[in-house]
C-alpha cells in the first residue's frame, strides 16, 4: 500500500513540478522583462505577456521549409520533452520526485543537451544562412560550457559522495553548516555563469536582438512559426526556470519537501517559486547594467567559470 501511495505521491509531485515549470517559465520571463523595462524607465509588457504570446502562437499557421526534414518538426517537441522529463525528476518541490534514481546532475545535463543538440540540427535543417551560424555558435558555447559544468557538478557532489540531486539536497539539509563552504560558493558561482550561458541570456547572448549577425540562439529558430515556435519559446523559458530552480535548491534548499505530503509539496512549491523569482529578478537587474560580450570573448567568461569550479574542487580538497 505504502509503495503505491508513494508512487502516486511522487507522480503527483513530479506533475506539480512540471506544471510549475511549464507555467512558471513564461511567467518568469515576463517578470524578468518587466523588471528590466522598469529599470530602463519604461512600463514594459504585462508579466503574463509571454503566456499570451504562446497562446496566440498555437492558433497560427505551421510552416515547414521545403528543404527541411522531420528533424525540424521533432526538435521543438524534443526540446520541451527533455525539459519536462528533467523537471519531473528534479527535486524542485520535493526531494522525492518520480524516477528519483535517475535524478542525477549528470543525467540532467545530458538530458538538456539532447534538446539543444536537436535544436542546433534544426537550425541547419532548413538550409539557410543564419540557421547554420546560430547552430555553430550555440554548440561551440555549449561545448565550452561543458567543462565548467561538469567540474561544478564534481565540486558539488563531493560532499554528498554522489551526483544524485536528491542526495545532494538532502545532504545540505542534513548538514546546514556546509552551506557556505568556499567549495560550494565557488562552484555555485561557476554554475550561475554556466546557467546564464546555457540559457542564452546576457552577456552571452541577447534574446531580444534583431541583428542576425549577433544572434546565437535566435538564429537557429528563425524558421519556426506558430505552434512550433510556441514550443521553442516555452521550452526555453522552462529550461531557464528549471536551471534556476536547481540552482536555488543547491544554494539554499530550505523549504523543499522531504516527503510527498500535500503540505510539504505546497510549502516546497511556494518556496521554490519565491526563490526562483528572487534569483530571476536579480538576474534581470544584472542584465540591465551589462552589454553582450563579443562572441570570442565568451570563452574567457566560460574559462572563468571553469577556474571557479576548479577552485571549488581544490578548496574542497584543502578543507579536507
Amino acid at each position: 500500500m505504502s509503495t503505491i501511495s508513494h508512487v502516486i505521491g511522487t507522480g503527483i509531485s513530479s506533475a506539480v513540478q512540471v506544471a510549475v515549470v511549464a507555467v512558471g517559465g513564461p511567467v518568469l520571463v515576463g517578470v524578468m522583462r518587466k523588471v528590466r523595462c522598469r529599470l530602463e524607465g519604461r512600463v514594459g509588457p504585462p508579466v503574463l505577456q509571454p503566456l499570451v504570446d504562446i497562446r496566440k502562437l498555437f492558433r497560427k499557421q505551421r510552416f515547414r521549409p521545403d528543404q527541411a526534414t522531420w528533424i525540424f518538426t521533432l526538435a521543438p517537441v524534443m526540446l520541451v520533452a527533455t525539459v519536462v522529463v528533467a523537471a519531473a525528476i528534479t527535486p524542485l518541490v520535493t526531494t522525492h520526485p518520480a524516477l528519483r534514481a535517475s535524478s542525477d546532475l549528470f543525467v540532467l545535463v545530458y538530458l538538456l543537451l539532447v534538446g539543444s543538440t536537436l535544436l542546433a540540427l534544426a537550425g541547419l535543417d532548413a538550409g539557410t544562412a543564419f540557421g547554420g551560424m546560430g547552430s555553430s555558435r550555440a554548440v561551440t558555447i555549449g561545448a565550452l560550457a561543458e567543462p565548467a559544468l561538469l567540474v561544478t557538478i564534481l565540486a558539488l557532489s563531493t560532499t554528498a559522495h554522489s551526483s544524485n540531486l536528491p542526495a545532494i539536497v538532502s545532504a545540505i539539509l542534513a548538514h546546514p553548516e556546509s552551506v557556505a563552504t568556499p567549495q560550494r560558493l565557488f562552484a555555485l558561482g561557476a554554475l550561475l555563469i554556466v546557467i546564464v550561458a546555457e540559457s542564452g541570456r546576457l552577456p552571452v547572448d541577447n534574446p531580444a536582438t534583431h541583428l542576425e549577425l549577433t544572434m546565437v540562439h535566435e538564429a537557429m529558430i528563425l524558421e519556426y512559426a506558430g505552434p512550433d515556435l510556441a514550443l521553442v519559446t516555452v521550452g526555453e523559458a522552462m529550461r531557464l526556470t528549471l536551471l534556476l530552480g536547481i540552482f536555488v535548491n543547491l544554494v539554499a534548499p530550505w523549504g523543499v519537501a522531504t516527503s510527498t505530503s500535500v503540505s510539504g509539496v505546497v510549502v516546497g512549491l511556494a518556496s521554490v517559486v519565491a526563490k526562483v523569482a528572487v534569483v530571476g529578478v536579480f538576474l534581470a537587474v544584472f542584465e540591465v547594467f551589462i552589454a553582450k560580450v563579443r562572441l570570442f570573448r565568451v570563452p574567457e567568461l566560460l574559462a572563468g567559470a571553469f577556474v571557479l569550479a576548479l577552485l571549488g574542487v581544490v578548496s574542497g580538497l584543502v578543507a579536507k
Binding site: 521545403d66 519536462v84 534514481a101 535517475s102 538530458l111 547552430s135 564534481l154 559522495h161
Partner: protein, 673 residues
C-alpha cells in the same frame, strides 16, 4: 573441451572464408566468404559466451604450429569480452561488405584478405603466449594494411596512408615485442601464464620499462596521442567495412593489450604509470575531439573521433589503475567496467558511423562534408541511422554512449574523495577533459549530421544520391540497434563485463554493479534507471506531439520556401559550410589546432580597388604530425643522404674499411694479450 573445438572451428572457418574468397569466381566469393565468416563469428561467440558463463578459461596448445614455440590459445573472460566485441562489429561489417563489394572488396586479394583480417581480430584476444600473440598481431597488421591499400591504384592518399600505417604499426609492434620479450626472458617461458607468475617479482625499473613500452606499442594501435597520426590517414582510405572493423574492433584490441600487460601480466603498478595513462588519455580525448570538430572530411572526422573515444577509454583504464594502486578495488573495478562499456559502445556506434559514411560515399562519391548536404531527404534510412549513431557517440541519453560516460563520470566522481594526492589532482582534470571532449564531440557530430545530411545538397552528386542497397542499411541498422538496446538496457552486457573485469583485476569478491533494470553501483551512491528514463522521455515526446496537434489549428505544417531574408534566390552556397561551422571552435583553440589560412586576392588589371577574385583556403593539418613526425622524418632522410657517402663506389675505400677493421681488431687483440 567442446568449447575448445569451437575456437579451433572458428579459426578454421575463417581460414575457409579466406580460401573461398581466393578461389571462388567473382559472383560467389564475397557471399561465400561472408557466410563462412559468420560461421566463424558464431563459433567464437559461442566459445566466448561459454567461457563467460563458466568463468573458466579455455586453454589450447599445439606444438605442431609455429616452430620453436608452438601455439597457445587461452580464452579467458577478458578475452571473451573482446571476442564478443569483435563479433558484434564483424557480423554487420561483413554483411555490409556484400553490398559494398563492388567498391574494391570483390577482387580476389581483398576477398581473401578480408576474412583473414576478421579471423585475426577474433583470435588476438585468445592468444595465450608471446609468440602466438605477436603472430596474430602482425597478421592483423598485415591484413589490415593490405585492405587499406585496396584502393592504391586510384588514390595517392591511400598509398600514403598505407605507408604511414605500416610504419607506425610496425614500430608499435616492435615496442610491444620488446616489452613481451623482457617479460619472457625473466620468466623462463613465453606463455602469458608463466609470465604472469614471474612478472610481479621483477625489479620495479624493469616493470616500468615494460609497461611504458607496451603503452607506446598498444597506444599506437589504439590511436592514442601522439601515436594517432596513422588513424586519420588510414581509416578514411580503407573500404568502409574495413574502417568500421579497424576503428571499432582493432583499436579496441590496443586497449586490450594495455589491460593485458598492465593488469593481467604485471598485476598493476605504481600510481605514476597510471597517471601517464591518464595524461595520454586526456590528451587523446581533447586532441581527437578538437580535430574531429574541425575536420571537413566525414571519415577523417570519424577517425579523429576514434582517437577521442579511445582517450576516454584510457582515462577510465588509467583511473582503474590509479584506484588499484591506491587500494580502492571497488572503484578500480568500476573504472574498468566503464572502460569496457565505453569500448563496447564505441565499437557499436563507430561501426555504424563508418558504415553509413561508406554508404554516403557509395551514394555520392564523396566524403567531403562541403560537397554533401540534404542526404536525409534522399537517403532517409541511412540518414536516420547515422543520426541515431551520432547521437549515441555524442553521449545523448537514452543511447549507449551516455551510459558509458555516466559510468566513467561516476568512477571519477567517487575517486575525487579517496584522498590520494595524485587522484586529487588528476581526477578534476580528467573530469574537465571528459566534459570538454563531450562538448566538442557534440560540435563534431552536429556538424557531421547537420552539414552532411541536412540542408540543401552542396553538389550535384549529393543532389542525385539515392538510398543504398538493403543489406547495407540492415548492417548499419544492426549496429544502431545495439546502440539503442544498450542505451535502454545496458545491464544486458554487465554480467559479461563484470566477469571480464574480475579477470583483469582478480581478488574482487563482491559484485560491482547490481543487475536488474536499473544500474546501481554497489557500495557507492550512484544510480541510473535508463529504461525508465527512456520510457518517460518517449512518453513526454508523444504527449507533447499530441498536445501540439490538439492545440494547433493546422495539424500538418505547410511546406514553404525557407525564409531567406527576402532574397530572390536561395542556393546551397548560402549555407554554412563544414569549415565555417567549425570556425568558432577553431578560433578558440587555434593554439592547438594551428590552422593554416590562405587568402589570395586577385585584382583586375585596371585598378587595385576592384577585386576580380578572392580565394580563401583554411586547412587544419595535424600539429602533432607536423611538429613531432615531420622533423624526425626529415632528419632520417638527411641521415640517409649523408650515409650514401659510405658507398662512393671506390674499391679503395671499401678495402680501406677492411684494413681499418683489421687494424682495430689487431690492436684490440694486442691489448688483450
Amino acid at each position: 573441451m567442446t568449447a575448445g573445438v569451437l575456437v579451433v572451428a572458428g579459426a578454421l572457418l575463417g581460414l575457409g572464408g579466406a580460401i573461398a574468397g581466393a578461389l571462388l569466381p567473382k559472383g560467389w566469393r564475397v557471399r561465400a566468404a561472408t557466410a563462412l565468416i559468420w560461421a566463424a563469428c558464431g563459433c567464437e561467440a559461442a566459445a566466448a559466451i561459454h567461457v563467460l558463463a563458466i568463468d573458466r578459461p579455455i586453454v589450447l596448445r599445439s606444438t605442431e604450429l609455429l616452430p620453436f614455440t608452438g601455439v597457445t590459445l587461452v580464452l579467458n573472460s577478458l578475452g571473451a569480452f573482446f571476442v564478443l566485441l569483435v563479433v558484434m562489429v564483424a557480423v554487420p561489417a561483413t554483411l555490409y561488405g556484400i553490398g559494398y563489394a563492388s567498391h574494391g572488396l570483390d577482387t580476389r586479394t581483398a576477398a581473401c584478405v578480408f576474412p583473414l583480417f576478421v579471423t585475426t581480430l577474433l583470435l588476438v584476444p585468445t592468444a595465450g603466449s608471446v609468440a602466438t600473440f605477436m603472430a596474430l598481431w602482425e597478421l592483423m597488421a598485415l591484413t589490415s594494411l593490405l585492405l587499406v591499400l585496396v584502393d592504391h591504384s586510384a588514390s595517392e592518399a591511400s598509398r600514403s596512408a598505407g605507408t604511414w600505417y605500416a610504419v607506425l604499426t610496425h614500430v608499435g609492434a616492435a615496442t610491444i615485442l620488446v616489452a613481451f620479450l623482457i617479460l619472457a626472458a625473466h620468466s623462463g617461458g613465453q606463455t602469458f601464464a608463466a609470465i604472469a607468475v614471474h612478472a610481479r617479482h621483477l625489479a620495479s625499473g624493469v616493470r616500468a620499462l615494460v609497461f611504458m613500452l607496451a603503452l607506446v606499442g598498444f597506444g599506437s594501435k589504439a590511436g592514442a596521442v601522439p601515436f594517432h597520426v596513422w588513424l586519420p590517414k588510414a581509416h578514411p582510405e580503407a573500404p568502409s567495412p574495413v574502417s568500421a572493423l579497424m576503428s571499432g574492433a582493432m583499436v579496441a584490441l590496443g586497449v586490450y593489450g594495455i589491460v593485458l600487460v598492465g593488469d593481467d601480466l604485471l598485476g598493476g603498478g605504481p600510481v605514476w604509470w597510471w597517471l601517464v595513462v591518464l595524461v595520454l588519455g586526456g590528451a587523446s580525448a581533447l586532441f581527437g575531439s578538437l580535430h574531429a570538430a574541425s575536420s571537413t572530411d566525414l571519415k577523417r572526422l570519424l577517425a579523429y573521433s576514434t582517437t577521442d573515444n579511445i582517450g576516454l577509454v584510457l582515462l577510465a583504464v588509467g583511473a582503474a589503475g590509479l584506484y588499484d594502486a591506491t587500494r580502492h578495488p571497488l572503484l578500480a573495478a568500476l573504472s574498468l567496467v566503464s572502460a569496457l562499456v565505453l569500448l563496447f559502445n564505441h565499437a557499436a556506434f563507430k561501426g555504424a558511423l563508418f558504415l553509413s559514411a561508406g554508404s554516403v560515399q557509395v551514394a555520392t562519391g564523396s566524403r567531403d562534408l562541403d560537397r554533401l548536404g540534404g542526404l536525409l531527404r534522399r537517403m532517409p534510412q541511412t540518414g536516420a541511422l547515422f543520426l541515431v549513431a551520432a547521437a549515441a557517440i555524442s553521449a545523448l541519453p537514452p543511447l549507449n554512449g551516455f551510459i558509458g560516460e555516466w559510468l566513467l563520470f561516476q568512477s571519477l566522481l567517487h575517486g575525487a574523495v579517496i584522498g590520494s594526492t595524485a587522484a586529487d589532482i588528476a581526477i578534476p582534470l580528467a573530469v574537465a577533459a571528459l566534459a570538454l571532449t563531450a562538448g566538442l564531440t557534440v560540435v563534431a557530430f552536429v556538424k557531421a549530421v547537420g552539414i552532411g545530411f541536412l540542408g540543401r545538397p552542396r553538389s550535384e552528386s549529393a543532389d542525385e544520391a539515392t538510398e543504398v542497397p538493403r543489406t547495407m542499411r540492415l548492417a548499419v541498422g544492426l549496429l544502431v540497434a545495439v546502440c539503442v538496446v544498450l542505451g535502454v538496457a545496458p545491464t544486458l552486457i554487465f554480467p559479461a563485463v563484470e566477469r571480464a573485469v574480475k579477470t583483469a583485476l582478480p581478488g574482487l569478491g563482491t559484485r560491482i554493479l547490481a543487475h536488474g533494470v536499473d544500474l546501481q553501483v554497489v557500495g557507492l551512491r550512484g544510480m541510473l534507471a535508463p529504461a525508465a528514463l527512456a520510457g518517460s522521455l518517449a512518453g513526454a515526446v508523444v504527449g507533447i506531439m499530441v498536445l501540439r496537434r490538439a492545440l494547433s489549428r493546422q495539424p500538418t505544417p505547410r511546406v514553404v520556401e525557407a525564409w531567406g531574408c527576402g532574397r530572390q534566390l536561395q542556393t546551397a552556397r548560402m549555407q554554412y559550410t563544414a569549415t565555417s561551422f567549425a570556425e568558432p571552435v577553431q578560433r578558440v583553440f587555434d593554439d592547438v589546432l594551428r590552422p593554416v589560412q590562405d587568402l589570395d586576392v586577385t585584382h583586375v588589371a585596371e585598378s587595385r580597388y576592384v577585386i576580380e577574385s578572392v580565394t580563401f583556403a583554411n586547412t587544419v593539418d595535424d600539429a602533432i604530425e607536423r611538429s613531432l613526425y615531420t622533423p624526425v622524418i626529415r632528419a632520417v632522410r638527411r641521415w640517409g643522404q649523408v650515409a650514401r657517402r659510405l658507398q662512393p663506389g671506390s674499391v679503395h675505400r671499401y678495402l680501406a674499411y677492411g684494413l681499418g677493421a683489421l687494424v682495430i681488431l689487431l690492436v684490440a687483440v694486442a691489448v688483450m694479450g
